[in-house]
């Protein structure tokens, strides 16, 4: 059995060097498909970061009436911190809010002058809520509307931003669907390319398969070297394309954050290096093996 396995591995290795043109085509296909799959991953990451970026820019602030005490506001803060999907709730006292406003108004001389002339702080205390995603905000607004604390509230910016929030939720959902479709299309397209190349590879070896069948070789003795061969070119092709991709991302590292500040592919890849490579290489190997298996079946039936 060991001799047989050694022979199968050796034959697969020899096949790679013996069929140079076919090996080159298979290598090229693997490189191309690897790029497709990584394009799928990076698109997924890009859209994910874009949604996050937009959501972070959403203003969900709760303003309180002037007669509400700070203790009562802090109580509401504590309740909201326990709300499902809420990441954090920041309390902004009216002094801080006023200072911030003054800073922002520096560039506008009319407002700056008006603020100077004003003897009192016109702003109120408020809470800024950050949630995991934009779908949480309507729920918070609904919760506050029905809670006994409703009487404390002056207004919630959600109602002003409601249209924008709803639009973002809708865009997020559409983008998620688009990414899923994109990945399915990429996988289907990659499978087709690999399957066609596999058909050509196996066809070029059909006489050898026929001879081995005539001699009395069992199907695994015939399939084995092809599977070893597939592993060799899949692995080599994958390593080459991964190398090119990493080099490309290193060279363009500073460019990507200019599109969206939180889009940093090299960080995404380094943080998920093992799992992404396992998925990508696993996909390529599986598609290659299944394609070869299917292409070979008709020659093995005799």
């Amino acid at each position: 059995m060991l001799n047989k396995i050694k022979k199968i591995i050796k034959s697969g290795y020899n096949l790679f060097w013996q069929e140079k043109i076919i090996s080159l085509i298979n290598l090229g296909t693997t490189i191309l498909v690897t790029f497709f799959i990584w394009f799928g991953f990076l698109s997924f990451y890009f859209f994910h970061q874009m949604i996050n970026y937009l959501q972070q820019r959403l203003d969900f602030s709760i303003y309180f009436k002037t007669n509400v005490t700070r203790d009562e506001i802090l109580k509401v803060q504590k309740i909201l911190e326990q709300f499902p999907g809420v990441i954090k709730v920041d309390f902004v006292p009216q002094e801080v809010a006023f200072k911030k406003f003054q800073e922002e108004a520096k560039s506008n001389p009319v407002i700056a002058k008006a603020l100077k002339e004003l003897q009192t702080n016109p702003l109120v205390d408020y809470l800024i809520v950050k949630a995991e995603n934009s779908e949480v905000y309507p729920k918070i607004a609904d919760f506050l509307e029905k809670s006994p604390h409703k009487a404390y509230l002056d207004y919630i910016t959600y109602f002003e931003n409601q249209r924008v929030i709803k639009k973002i939720i809708s865009i997020s959902n559409q983008l998620r669907l688009l990414i899923s479709v994109l990945i399915i299309v990429i996988l289907a397209f990659s499978s087709l390319i690999i399957f066609n190349t596999s058909l050509v590879s196996i066809y070029s070896q059909k006489e050898e398969i026929e001879v081995l069948k005539i001699i009395g070789a069992d199907n695994w003795f015939i399939r084995g070297p092809f599977f070893v061969y597939i592993f060799i070119f899949s692995f080599l092709g994958y390593i080459i394309s991964l190398g090119i991709l990493i080099l490309f991302l290193m060279k363009t590292e500073n460019f990507w954050p200019t599109i969206i500040s939180n889009f940093q592919p090299s960080i995404f890849i380094s943080e998920n290096f093992l799992i992404l490579n396992l998925i990508a290489f696993g996909l390529i190997l599986t598609i290659n093996l299944v394609s070869a298996f299917m292409s070979m079946e008709k020659y093995l039936k005799k």
């Binding site: 059995m1 060991l2 001799n3 047989k4 022979k7 013996q18 006489e207 050898e208 026929e210 001879v211 081995l212 069948k213 005539i214 001699i215 009395g216 070789a217 069992d218 199907n219 003795f221 005799k302």
Partner: protein
Amino acid sequence: MLALKNITKIYSSNIIALDNVSFEVNSGEFVLLIGKSGAGKSTLLKILRREEDPTKGQVYFKNKNLLELSRKRLGEIRRKTSAIHQDFKLLNKKTVFENIAVPLEILGKSPKEIKNEVYKVVEKLKIKSKLDQIAGTLSGGEKQKVCLARCLISKPEVILADEPTGNLDPLASYEFIEILKEINKDGVSIILATHNREIVESLKTRVLTLNDGRLIRDENPGKYTLV
């Protein structure tokens, strides 16, 4: 040892390649299978190794019905009923050594055992000097000898030869038939399909005649049967 019972083979285009053919071949027999092109000789040999399935009938090797065997068991039977083809069926990009060694590699023999066995066979067939040559570069006669060496290495009980001299010159054909006769003397049954009249006349052995897919004559020296 080898028996065909009521074999009929009809191809999808309704062409009848074999029509109710039955015969038996005993251990150590040398049988010639003759008939014009398209008579069904090649189909018959393919059915004997189950490279093709008959439309009707049964094929037995040592009382085992080949049509009921699994693919794995069929491989074993194919190594016992080796085939030689007119177009050699060699692995043309591999060396002579690699070609001859394949049946033993299939059995999982060690490299040392393989080397010993290959050397024994090539010495017997006088092709030792060709061992490192690529099979595709050999002459027709040499290729047929390599093919025969590949058969012999798995110690077959039957050799099925389909027009093995079809691509050989007269001298190489004569030499090849002489080798087959030697192998037959060692107890290996041989079924040789040919339309070379000289071979038929020189061998003086059992002759099966096929015509339009039907076995029309089964002649034995001293024994004559009209089927």
